[in-house]
């Protein structure tokens, strides 16, 4: 009978009606369901390395081996400049956010379709799905961060005060992955083509980001266009914060930030618009 007392406040706890406006985003709902977000992330992290022989070591191997290959190919043979930093560290610092981004993007793209059993059976803010998928790979990032610390010890590189700004760039990396992931996950519900496009897109995107080479290699007049890629800002930020790269491209970072905000906002609006028909179309 305690229920009766609770319901005496006569405000409906939920309103059911067709959403008309584009900007009825109802983000507070996401906050109310934060505990579920936690469990979804927790599930993704738990499940990821189940029934693997070396478990979480995979989180380190992938960027580490890529770094070795890059060092050989681009550092030793092609002799790419690395802004005065030992090439292995130079590449690895960039591979941290890049590996995270690639994983987060590919997982969030398939996240909604992969959760069709949830989407058709129960209500919760659908935004949680790509959100959880883009947060979960952070765990891998932290593991490789430890490797980086080891590398920096080896090469005797001390981080500068810029280290304090690292969380900011981490957030920027998450937002970048999320913003694109929102678009692709919603599109994927209707057009499964997205599933085939994403791996290719990620591959191309890597060459368009300063992972293996420094931004300074990009000709000055293309720099502005180049900086429209939000990952440019993220990677530049990581290099600056972690290994104290001199004269980072603050302009590129600012442009990246603006780009991310635009894509993110558009992504949320688009996702919320498409969300209404998820259960019917999926």
């Amino acid at each position: 009978m305690e229920l009766t007392a609770e319901i005496t406040s006569r405000k409906p706890s939920a309103i059911i009606q067709p959403r008309k406006g584009l900007f009825q985003l109802n983000l507070r709902d996401v906050w109310n369901y934060r505990e579920l977000l936690y469990f979804l992330v927790w599930r993704d992290v738990k499940v990821r390395y189940k029934q693997t022989a070396i478990g979480a070591a995979w989180a380190i191997f992938q960027p580490l081996i890529t770094m070795v290959i890059f060092t050989l190919l681009f550092g030793k043979f092609a002799k790419f400049p690395s802004d005065g930093i030992p090439y292995p560290v130079f590449a690895f610092v960039a591979l941290l956010p890049w590996t995270y981004f690639a994983q987060a993007l590919s997982q969030s793209s398939s996240s909604v379709v992969g959760s069709s059993n949830l989407v058709t059976k129960i209500y919760f803010p659908r935004l949680l799905i790509p959100l959880a998928a883009s947060v979960a790979p952070l765990v891998d990032l932290f593991f490789s961060l430890l490797v980086l610390v080891g590398l920096m010890f080896w090469f005797r590189i001390t981080p500068s005060l810029g280290l304090l700004a690292l969380p900011l760039f981490l957030v920027l990396a998450i937002l970048t992955a999320l913003s694109v992931g929102l678009w692709s996950s919603a599109l994927n519900v209707r057009y499964r083509d997205v599933g085939h496009t994403i791996p290719f897109l990620i591959q191309v995107w890597m060459y368009a980001s300063p992972v293996a080479y420094p931004v300074s290699m990009v000709p000055e007049r293309w720099r502005l266009l180049y900086s429209l890629n939000p990952m440019v800002g993220v990677i530049e930020g990581f290099r600056w914060a972690l290994i104290g790269k001199r004269s980072p491209d603050f302009m590129a970072m600012a442009i990246s930030l603006v780009m991310v905000m635009v894509i993110l906002f558009g992504g949320i609006v688009y996702f919320k618009k498409m969300e209404r028909s998820f259960a019917d179309v999926i």
Partner: protein, 426 residues
């Protein structure tokens, strides 16, 4: 007015079927089709035929503490209504208000991950169906007890037997204590023990004052827990009222759901069935119309037929089908040794069953007319339903109950009984 739990006003839901964009799974399809339709536009008015209203102007209010059943035939909009109520999908039009914390169970074990252990899945599934973490912590032991899996709790659920899996899934659901519970009929599949648990859970919720909306095909479970029924037909509310008033309407409607299957089975050459069942009546031994029979009573099924062109060797089959689609028994003119060489024109035929020994449940009658060798089906008719009553013999006891003859045989030495007899109290 202060005790409303759910209010729905003119809720409508439209689906696009056929050549709509919902069917496209690839961009190419969409591009091709928009190209095509660009050329076709003149001949075909685009709206109308491809749109289909799964629900149209559905309005109702449900008071707090009511247990409401939603019934209707397949495609009547029951599941759509439930999906709208649980906010899985949005209505195309209309306004709904919900007062209270909603729990919706469209299936049990939503979001279970096979790789995770039972313990982990309890937390995951609990969070998905809307329980708070501290709530799950509090109920955790009770859930494990309920599911009867204590020693397997730290094993991945992919190694569970299907029974354990369902028990665990249901155990979590049964500890959700919402103010408003929306349940789909999927809960009423599964074994009988499981169904009974579902019913007990609904009953407990009812006692706690919660509102329950229950979608089902199973009239028996509706009758046993709902005090109000909303009957949907073609996306509209056909009737809304007390259970005992609405269910007869639904059953009457089902009866007119005439099903002519003249040549569902190979062999029939003509397109026109050579025999129809035009009517069906249920009577007791003395010839009085009845819909409820006591266990052990005999039932008279009277069929009216029409065979305008005449028919040779018809073989009438009357089957009793339980509400969960279990075929319980068949009476057949041919097998029961009553041969009909030929029939022509209109007439009636009757079968008087032996004393009904099927357990207390709701049954419906299917009538099929075959040829003598069950090779060719002339017609199929889904008919009236009726109830069998017995205070004890429910589906727990099986499909039917027949008394056995018990005896302690004399010739066999039964050491235990002789041993104890001395020690028994006088």
């Amino acid at each position: 007015m202060n005790d409303i739990a759910i209010r729905m006003e003119n809720i409508s839901k439209q689906y696009n079927i056929g050549a709509s964009h919902y069917r496209h799974n690839t961009l190419r399809d969409q591009l091709m089709d928009s190209l095509k339709s660009a050329f076709r536009r003149k001949e075909q008015s685009c709206s109308g035929e491809n749109n289909f209203w799964a629900l149209k102007d559905v309005s109702f209010e449900i008071k707090q503490g009511e247990i409401v059943g939603i019934i209707g035939h397949n495609g009547a909009g029951k599941s759509t209504l439930l999906k709208i109520l649980s906010r899985i999908t949005e209505p195309t039009d209309g306004l709904g208000e919900i007062y209270g914390r909603v729990g919706s169970l469209l299936e049990v074990g939503t979001g279970f991950h096979p790789e995770l252990t039972g313990r982990e899945n309890i937390y995951l599934n609990g969070a998905i169906i809307g329980m708070r973490k501290e709530e799950i912590n509090r109920c955790f032991d009770a859930i494990v007890d309920f599911a009867e899996i204590d020693t397997f709790i730290d094993m991945p659920v992919k190694r569970y037997s299907s029974g354990m899996y369902v028990r665990l899934a249901f155990a979590v659901s049964a500890h959700l204590k919402p103010e408003i519970l929306l349940v789909d009929e999927v809960l009423s599949v599964g074994d009988l023990r499981f169904q009974r648990k579902c019913m007990n859970y609904a009953e407990e919720l009812r006692k706690s004052g919660a509102t329950v909306v229950f979608v089902s095909h199973n009239m028996f479970s509706i009758k046993s827990i709902c005090n109000r029924v909303i009957y949907l037909s073609g996306g509209r509310i056909q009737a809304d009222g007390l259970t005992q008033e609405v269910i007869p309407l639904f059953e009457k409607e089902s009866r007119t759901g005439y099903n002519k299957h003249p040549q569902a089975v190979a062999g029939s050459g003509s397109s026109e069935p050579s025999i129809h069942i035009t009517g069906m009546e249920l009577l007791d031994e003395s010839g009085v119309n009845r819909a409820v029979f006591n266990f052990g009573e005999r039932m008279r099924v009277r069929l009216s037929y029409s065979a305008p062109q005449g028919i040779r060797d018809p073989n009438f089959v009357v089957a009793l089908i339980r509400s969960d689609n279990v075929a319980c028994c068949n009476y057949s003119t041919h097998l029961d040794g009553y041969s009909i060489p030929s029939l022509c024109g209109d007439g009636t035929i009757e079968v008087l069953t032996p004393p009904l020994k099927i357990v207390s449940e709701s049954y419906s009658i299917h009538v099929i007319v075959w040829d003598k060798s069950f090779q060719q089906m002339y017609c199929f008719h889904k008919g009236i339903s009726f109830h069998v009553q017995h205070h004890l013999y429910s589906t727990h006891f099986g499909v039917f109950h027949e008394e056995g003859e018990w005896v302690i045989p004399d010739g066999v030495v039964n050491s235990r009984s002789t041993d104890c007899s001395g020690g028994l109290p006088q």
